[in-house]
């Protein structure tokens, strides 16, 4: 996994609440057996005017001019502003894969669905939680100022506005450590092999019916 330390990027505002993972990446693209290549189909049903299917040449499809990510001023955006309960619904990790493949490094929202939030950290994306008032300010500033960028520093846990204003955010220390260092979660867990083996043998004594092969 790619580490996230510091990032400065263009901000795109997606001003709707309860954005579900079916919207982030529609099901027909879940048939891929790869982890990559989902970017062109991120928000497919909102982004294009036609019906998308795997294998299409997305560069030739008609874009929806009203969808915010299609506007010229937001091309190349890498920080997504969203509203409450972002990423609700299905557990599909294809959602953060699509965001990552598109070039999104961080999402900023007042709240997230639990599974999506967790999946982001496994894929080098930093999901930042900020309160509603701060979110309103960020939406206003992004929409009012073309080329609006934010600077995110994971180590300091800060988001810095172009005018120098600094907003702090919380992140759980274990998640921060893994993301900051781009660590392999499985590798970390396997360092606790002796604890796992010890638990497993005790579990087998307590619940032998779970160990019949």
């Amino acid at each position: 996994m790619e580490a996230f330390t510091q990032h400065t990027g263009l901000v795109v505002p997606l001003d709707r609440s309860n954005v579900d993972t079916d919207a982030i990446i529609p099901k027909q693209f879940l048939k891929s057996i790869k982890r990559t290549g989902f970017g062109p189909n991120l928000f497919d049903e909102w982004r294009y005017l036609d019906h998308g299917e795997p294998g299409m040449d997305n560069s030739k499809r008609p874009l929806n001019p009203d969808f915010v990510m299609n506007k010229d001023r937001y091309q190349g955006a890498s920080i997504l502003l969203a509203r409450e309960n972002f990423g609700c619904g299905s557990s599909r990790e294809h959602a953060p894969w699509a965001l990552e493949d598109y070039g999104i490094k961080a999402v900023i929202a007042p709240s997230y669905a639990d599974i999506f939030f967790n999946n982001c950290f496994k894929n080098g994306i930093l999901p930042i939680v900020l309160d509603h008032t701060t979110m309103d300010t960020l939406f206003e500033q992004t929409e009012a100022n073309e080329g609006f960028k934010l600077d995110i520093d994971l180590d300091k846990q800060t988001v810095t506005m172009p005018n120098g204003d600094v907003i702090g955010f919380e992140v759980e220390s274990d998640r921060k450590h893994s993301l900051y260092n781009g660590l392999d979660d499985i590798g970390i867990t396997l360092q606790q092999e002796s604890a796992i083996t010890e638990y497993e043998s005790a579990r087998q004594k307590r619940a032998p019916w779970l160990f019949n092969s």
Partner: protein
């Protein structure tokens, strides 16, 4: 000191290690695998040169992509075919038990697990699917994970987790005639919202929950995730144990006695402390219908579609306006006036034998309205289908004009060929009414199996409580 909740007990029982940074390593007893969220996990194992830690802790079956029509020629869509083939290949090469597409035990993972007794009380269980919460109906800590965690569990049998908060949803009283588990959980979601359970494990309790069958409890836990909670739970009682007994993967002989003894403690202590308590009165719940594009956009069947002008919260107001536009509906019009095109009875929420009996009790002796283009019944597994056919339910459905299909996820999420066309309205027993969920531009209305069957017969929503039902079938299901 307060006692422990059921979730507290399950958490403590699976704690491998607590780390200084506040995270914990939790042991995962069992994992269910399907074709959509596992290929990249197996690929990850292969790249890292790792193997599944405990083969017997994994059970696989293809469900999302499988056709529900004649399967003798395999899967027509080449992309779907490759995904199912990849699952078969991975299971074969690693030695994971799989019920393949031509196996009568194949079906939706969340129907297959309990049916096989693979789901047991006291387990921790995961699957790369958010509806894994279903298995909490057995007093098991079951939750959906992403593909990275599927791989993590394959490799280590553990997950790094943070303990969730405890929420209690208590439904006391007696459900009225024609009011089912689906109506209860939709009413709960309407009450607390789709983010209401975020960060919580929800335990469902109260006399109305206790009186539900295991199938009904599964329907309720299944949709805990639609209220934002990864985990839904119901305490173990005699019904739980009776349901599990004798199933293929259930413990036998002395181990059975030992297991039953251990399972008796799987309930919250009387003095347990919950972070949040929500109470509903069973008598006040009437059949529910979703009108919008989120499961919280739900109304009683005798209600009206809401008016955004009456909503003071601007974000919610905009959400209602957007949903009305997508659904092509007018504010303040009755739910019963929504025009319907299709009816889908199936999914991990409502495709168990009892759900099919419930729908058949309405369908018996009636005909699907000529205004309905298609009404289909998709059993949750090959064994549910076999049981339904033994009871003659398929004849009731086909005589009424419903299509009787092969088992799978089908039109719940339209990854196979079953889908809505743009603009079509569907009465569906599934779990999500998101934009495009059942097909791009499709409009989903979530209801119970009885309500879906009644809508099929009338061509629009009707209050199932006003219909005469087949007495024997009604008795055998929750519609009583």
């Amino acid at each position: 000191m307060a006692g422990n909740t059921l979730y507290d007990k399950l958490w403590a029982d699976h704690l491998v290690a607590e780390n200084d940074d506040g995270s914990a390593l939790i042991y995962i007893d069992r994992q269910l695998l399907h074709e959509v969220t596992s290929p990249q996990a197996f690929e990850g194992l292969r790249i890292a040169g790792r193997k599944p830690r405990r083969l017997e802790s994994n059970l696989a079956t293809p469900d999302h992509n499988v056709p529900t029509t004649d399967r003798t020629n395999g899967i027509a869509d080449p992309v779907s075919r490759i995904q199912v083939q990849t699952l078969d290949d991975n299971c074969d090469s690693y030695g994971v038990t799989e019920f393949k597409m031509d196996d009568i035990r194949q079906g939706i993972v969340h129907i297959v697990g309990p049916e096989q007794g693979y789901t047991l009380p006291g387990l921790t269980m995961v699957c790369g699917d958010s509806h894994t919460a279903t298995h909490g109906a057995f007093g098991a800590m079951a939750f959906g994970v992403g593909t990275s965690e599927v791989e993590h569990v394959l490799a280590t049998q553990c997950l790094r987790q943070k303990k969730m908060k405890n929420m209690l949803v208590r439904v006391d009283g007696e459900l009225g005639t024609g009011v089912t588990a689906k109506d209860v959980v939709l009413a709960v979601i309407g009450e607390i919202g789709t983010a209401g359970g975020n960060g919580h494990a929800i335990e469902f309790a109260g006399t109305a929950i206790e009186s539900l069958s295991m199938e009904g409890r599964m329907t309720i836990c299944n949709m805990a995730i639609e209220a934002g909670a990864r985990v839904g739970l119901v305490a173990v009682d005699d019904k739980t144990i009776e349901y599990v007994k004798g199933r293929p993967f259930a413990p036998k002989g002395e181990q059975w006695d030992m297991a039953v003894e251990a399972w008796k403690d799987l309930h919250s202590d009387a003095d347990a402390d919950f972070d949040r308590v929500v109470e509903l009165k069973a008598e006040e719940i009437i059949p529910q219908v979703t009108w919008g594009t989120s499961p919280e956009m739900v109304k009683p069947v005798n209600g009206n579609i809401p008016n955004p002008e009456k909503e003071s919260n601007p974000v919610k107001k905009e959400g209602i306006e957007r949903a009305l536009q997508y659904m092509d509906m007018k504010a303040d019009t009755p739910i019963t006036s929504i025009p319907l095109d299709k009816v889908f009875i199936g999914s991990c929420t409502n495709a168990r034998i009892e759900d099919l009996r419930e729908a058949a009790a309405v369908a018996k002796g009636r005909k699907v309205s000529p205004s309905i283009k298609q009404a289909m019944v998709v059993p949750g597994s090959g064994l549910v289908k076999e049981q339904a056919e033994a009871e003659g339910l398929h004849t009731i459905f086909t005589e009424a004009g419903f299509e009787w299909r092969e088992p799978g996820c089908s039109m719940c999420l339209a990854m196979n060929a079953d889908r809505l066309e743009s603009g079509e309205h569907c009465a569906s027993t599934s779990n999500r009414n998101f934009e495009g969920r059942q097909g791009q531009g499709g409009r989903t209305h979530l209801v119970s199996p009885a309500m879906a069957a009644a809508a099929a017969v009338h061509g629009h929503f009707v209050d199932v409580r006003e219909l005469e039902l087949d007495p024997e079938l009604a008795k055998a299901s929750e519609v009583h």
